[in-house]
């Protein structure tokens, strides 16, 4: 089972990284979402995996899943929604201002940041 879990985390990470390295805001946001899943799963797994254990305390049971990573991941999921919402708004504002959703102003040449007036408006948000 641990093989499956680990490879799934790996696949989500790899997909996330690939999408984050792309050129358009929407794709990058998707990539960040994938990375979020991967990170949350990883944190969750730091309590070690457990199957068919009770979720709440009951008499006569000694073993439970590790509650601490669960609590941390729970808030992480909610917070990551808030952060996704902020970058969505940033990306959207930049697109609306520049009519272009590329994240890199000019990928090839260093210092091109200063010489792209149309793109510069993207900073307004």
């Amino acid at each position: 089972m641990e093989y499956l879990f680990s490879t799934a985390v790996g696949a989500l990470t790899a997909g996330g990284i690939y999408l984050v390295l792309r050129q358009r805001t929407f794709t990058v946001i998707l990539g960040i979402s994938l990375l979020t899943y991967a990170v949350n799963l990883f944190l969750f797994a730091s309590g070690r995996l457990s199957i068919n254990l009770p979720a709440v305390l009951r008499y006569g049971t000694e073993t439970y899943g590790d509650p601490l990573p669960q609590a941390l991941v729970l808030t992480a999921i909610v917070i990551s929604f808030g952060m996704t919402a902020v970058i969505v708004m940033l990306g959207l504002g930049a697109y609306l201002a520049a009519r272009d959703d590329r994240i890199d102003l000019d990928d090839a040449t260093p210092g091109a940041t200063d010489t792209a007036p149309a793109q510069g408006k993207g900073d307004m948000t």
Binding site: Y3, V9, G10, L12, L34, G47, A55, T84, L105
Partner: protein
């Protein structure tokens, strides 16, 4: 007064000048002087005990685990330096009142000065080296402010930057050295370190520690080859120069060497590094000083030279030399501060400091003449003045010193240095005050008021008194301070003018006579000096800095050229490489856990997840498809949480997934629906390789984590054991959120609320900009659905609304004991509300929304905070929860916990934040000219029937 108060008083007092300047310049100066005087009195109260040999300490544990304690110690050395810092500081404050012009912001000046003073006092009173380092860095920063005080002068700014760069770099080296020293000695407390001489000097790390510490001391005390910053710091106002370069900043390095003398001194390494550096600095500084025409530059290089002298004495490593060093520190501070103030007076009254434009001032400025002359002659080493006494001791010790088997080298160079020193001192007097009166002074010179000459006059009185009655006036202080430096019995010495006919006397006579001859030959020598090519330190420094800046720019531009993809790639690769290095470099714990058995259902889920992730990567150009696939992945993850015994996470993940997809749909409403193919094949290959490498790393890390047990016992057991008894709930996850880690949760909901407000603010900014007008009038999408608010959907959501609210309430109420809670309930309610917006339209829903979402967020945070504050009234710490069981007929016994009120806050904050974020984005879609429809549905049969009936 406790020692900590003496050190902190100037910092506290630094708040005052900025306020008191409104009451006038004099009041401001007196306030500042009062602060310093209070600290000085507090210090002097301890003086009798310290002079009697006691060591006063003050202990305050701060971070004892790190060895970082606010321990203060006052011994003879500390008393000497703290007395100099506060005493001369007091004189400088009075002097500055009359020196600064009306245009200079005096409140700022005094604030900087007090900050600096506090930092210096802190250095000399610290008993903990880490604490000392903090103060050390503070002196670098505050001296930067002081040197650059005249912000309008480019020299001032450059000088300040140079001083900061040099002393700051030295400070970094010092941190390294002190940490090594603390490691060797096993403590960061100076009182312990000072007893560990043998352990330190036997350690293989002695030399690295020594070099690093000396780098710090040499840069601060302007020793060759770091001497160049000091003359450039002369661009500061003269009170600053007088303070920093006579008694304080540059003496900090000497203090450090003296303080650590018992541990570090006495080895050949110490002798050759410290004594040689001091000797070279002494001769070089004096040589340059002789040919400087600017009075302050002359004094600056003479300071460099005298610092070299003291460094050399400390470097000799003998107890007698240490006594001479301590004595010269006192003498140099008195005559040099007086000289700087004299130079300031001359500059102030004649509007020039160029020695070639001065001369003949003795009749025009008689008081200044007397003060300046006595101080300068003391610097030259004329008998009956204090400079003579310590210089004799220096020569006596130099005469005994053998450098690498050569007995004549040190005495000859020391005499030569003294000769040069005499020459420039004479030059200061003769070329400024003697000679015929001139008629081309830039301003008509005359003596200033008592305010300006009072302070240097007092110092000159000390110069003379110590010079005539050394043992009576300074004997006790010298003995106490030397005793602290040596850390053992004092050697035989006597502070008196006449020691008989000794070699030192001959050397002294040679120096004075030679100095006079050299001054007579000054004109031809000066021409020769000006014609000789010399390396210019500032040019070298600037070139060096330019090189460093270029290198930093080149690296930054290579890694971080503004392309996010590139930084991302660099970041990812770095992490993989660092992770691999950590894995390859460390030992792996053996596998201690059995693997869970494989089953068919999770295998199917795994296949689905892999497939969907692959599809997402390949089809991400179709944005709607990609969004659906993300949703699928989220659902699989939720199911995974259920499978791995985490129902709370599953509920959260599923509900968050819904709102995230709605969020991204809202974004997709505005942006293009497809991503163009624009990356080259090579680029895709590269990114793919990076992605696979990171993915493999993540998989390996996750797996490695799974097969081993916890390295330390987990605190989860505590939570499990106390959840029911202490927190009153059986759902441990929820109890952790609202009780054990309630403060974390409080922070998290606050962050969530802030994120929502940020989104709201960004939306406002977009709508207020020209983009907002364009948005409102943009062309309609031709593919628009005919029925934006279909009947079926409106009816269905209306029916579902109360059900969803009941479910939300239920999930909330059971949260403490069953999976659920404020987070999940908040998300469910938010989804129910969003559905109304989606089905019935923004305007229809917004018109029925009574409470602004900002208010709901605020209410949530407030309720959570008040719940926490409530426990104060019960005399418990913030957010301590309590619970009890109640019975109200006809309901069964139920539990009420204060944590539930906290959970209400969480609930409200989540609802408000999610709704505010989505509503803000939705507002972007509103168009101008479209009146809000009073009807929820575009097509409404009941309305049509009514219309048809008319």
């Amino acid at each position: 007064m406790p020692l900590i108060l003496i050190a902190i008083l100037p910092f506290l007092g630094a708040l005052l000048p900025g306020l008191m300047i409104r009451a006038g310049r004099t009041v401001c100066a007196w306030t500042t002087a009062t602060v310093t005087a209070a600290a000085l009195i507090g210090l002097l109260v301890h003086a009798p005990a310290v002079l009697a040999g006691e060591v006063i300490t003050y202990r305050l544990d701060w971070l004892p685990q790190l060895g970082l304690n606010a321990n203060f110690m006052l011994d003879g050395l500390g008393l000497l330096f703290a007395g100099l810092i506060l005493g001369i500081g007091l004189l400088i404050i009075i002097y500055a009142r009359f020196y600064l012009s009306r245009e200079d912001p005096m409140g700022t000046f005094y604030t900087y000065l007090l900050l600096f003073q506090g930092a210096m006092v802190g250095i000399v009173l610290s008993d903990n080296v880490l604490l000392m380092l903090v103060f050390w860095e503070l002196t670098s920063l505050s001296s930067f402010l002081l040197i650059g005080y005249w912000k309008h002068l480019p020299e001032g700014r450059q000088g300040a930057r140079m001083a900061l760069a040099v002393t700051g770099m030295g400070g970094l080296a010092l941190i390294g050295g002190m940490l090594i020293l603390g490691q060797i000695a096993g403590s960061y407390d100076l009182s312990v370190i000072l007893t560990q001489k043998d352990a330190v000097q036997a350690s293989p790390l002695y030399l690295p520690a020594l070099i690093l510490i000396l780098l710090g001391a040499f840069t601060k005390s302007a020793q060759f080859p770091f001497h160049f910053w000091l003359p450039h710091a002369m661009a500061a106002p003269t009170p600053v120069s007088a303070y920093l370069h006579s008694a304080t900043m540059v003496k900090a390095g000497l203090f450090l060497m003296a303080r650590l003398w018992p541990v570090l001194a006495g080895t050949p390494e110490w002798f050759y590094i410290v004594a040689t550096t001091g000797l070279v600095t002494m001769v070089l500084g004096a040589l340059i000083a002789l040919f400087k025409d600017d009075l302050k530059a002359l004094l600056a290089f003479s300071t460099v030279s005298h610092l070299g002298l003291i460094t050399m004495l400390l470097g000799f490593g003998t107890p007698f030399a240490a006594v001479a060093a301590v004595f010269h520190i006192i003498n140099h501070a008195t005559f040099k501060a007086a000289l700087f103030m004299t130079a300031g007076i001359i500059d102030h009254e004649t509007q020039t400091r160029d020695i070639k434009r001065l001369g003949g001032l003795r009749h025009l400025m008689p008081v200044t003449f007397v003060i300046g002359t006595l101080a300068a002659l003391s610097m030259a080493g004329i008998p009956l003045l204090n400079g003579f006494l310590s210089k004799e001791m220096m020569l006596e010790e130099a005469e005994r010193t053998i450098w690498s088997g050569t007995p004549w080298l040190v005495p000859a160079l020391a005499t030569f240095g003294a000769l040069l020193s005499a020459a420039y001192s004479f030059r200061f007097v003769i070329h400024t005050f003697m000679g015929p009166e001139r008629h081309d002074y830039p301003a008509r010179p005359h003596d200033p008021g008592f305010g300006l000459w009072g302070a240097p006059a007092l110092l000159v009185v000390l110069v003379v008194v110590i010079g005539i009655l050394p043992a009576a006036v300074a004997g006790g202080l010298v003995a106490a301070a030397s005793g602290a430096v040596i850390g053992g019995d004092l050697p035989y010495y006597s502070l008196k003018i006449w020691h008989g006919i000794t070699p030192a006397l001959y050397m002294s006579i040679i120096a004075l006579a030679g100095g006079a001859v050299l001054l007579a030959l000054h004109r031809p020598l000066d021409r020769l000096w000006q014609a000789t090519p010399r390396p210019e330190a500032k040019v070298i420094f600037d070139a060096l800095m330019a090189g460093v800046v270029w290198l930093a720019r080149a690296i930054t531009a290579g890694v971080h050229n503004g392309s996010m993809a590139r930084s991302g790639a660099v970041f990812a690769v770095t992490i993989v490489v660092a992770g691999y290095a950590a894995w390859a470099g460390g030992a792996q714990a053996p596998a201690t856990r059995d693997l869970l058995p494989l089953a068919a259902v999770p295998l199917a889920g795994w296949f689905a997840l892999m497939l969907v992730t692959l599809c997402l990567v390949f089809w991400h150009h179709q944005r709607l498809v990609a969004l659906i696939l993300i949703g699928v992945i989220g659902l699989i993850v939720s199911v995974g949480f259920v499978y791995f015994s985490a129902p709370d996470l599953a509920l959260t993940q599923a509900t968050v997934e819904v709102v995230t997809v709605i969020l991204l749909l809202l974004m997709l409403n505005f942006i293009p629906k497809t991503t163009p193919f624009e990356s080259s094949a090579g680029r895709r290959l590269r990114d793919g390789a990076i992605a696979v490498a990171v993915g493999l790393g993540a998989a390996a890390l996750t797996f490695a984590l799974q097969i081993t047990d916890f390295a330390q016992p987990s605190i989860s057991a505590y939570h499990l054991a106390n959840s029911k008894t202490g927190g009153g709930g059986t759902n441990v996850v929820n109890v952790i959120l609202v009780d054990f880690r309630g403060f974390d949760t409080f922070g998290e909901i606050t962050v969530l609320g802030i994120a929502a407000l940020v989104i709201f603010a960004l939306t406002e900014a977009v709508l207020a900009s020209p983009v907002g007008k364009w948005l409102a009038n943009r062309p309609l999408n031709p593919d628009k659905a005919g029925d934006a608010h279909p009947l079926m959907m409106v009816v269905a959501t209306r029916v579902m609304m109360p059900i969803a609210l009941v479910v939300g309430t239920y999930i909330f109420l059971r949260g403490h004991n069953e999976p659920g809670g404020g987070f999940i309930a908040g998300l469910i309610v938010a989804i129910a509300l969003v559905m109304q917006y989606m089905a019935s339209g923004f305007d229809w829903a917004a018109a029925r929304q009574r409470f602004p979402y900002h208010g709901i967020i605020a209410a949530g945070v407030l309720i959570a905070a008040l719940t926490g504050v409530g426990s104060w009234f019960a005399g418990r710490p913030f957010l301590t929860s309590s619970f009890g069981y109640f019975e109200i007929w006809p309901i069964e016994e139920f539990e009420l916990a204060t944590a539930m009120a906290f959970d209400v806050g969480v609930f409200l904050c989540v609802v408000g934040a999610v709704m505010l974020a989505l509503e803000s984005l939705a507002r972007l879609a509103r168009r101008s000219g479209v009146r809000p429809s009073p009807h929820a549905m575009d097509v409404d049969p009941s309305r049509d029937v009514t219309a048809g009936g008319q």
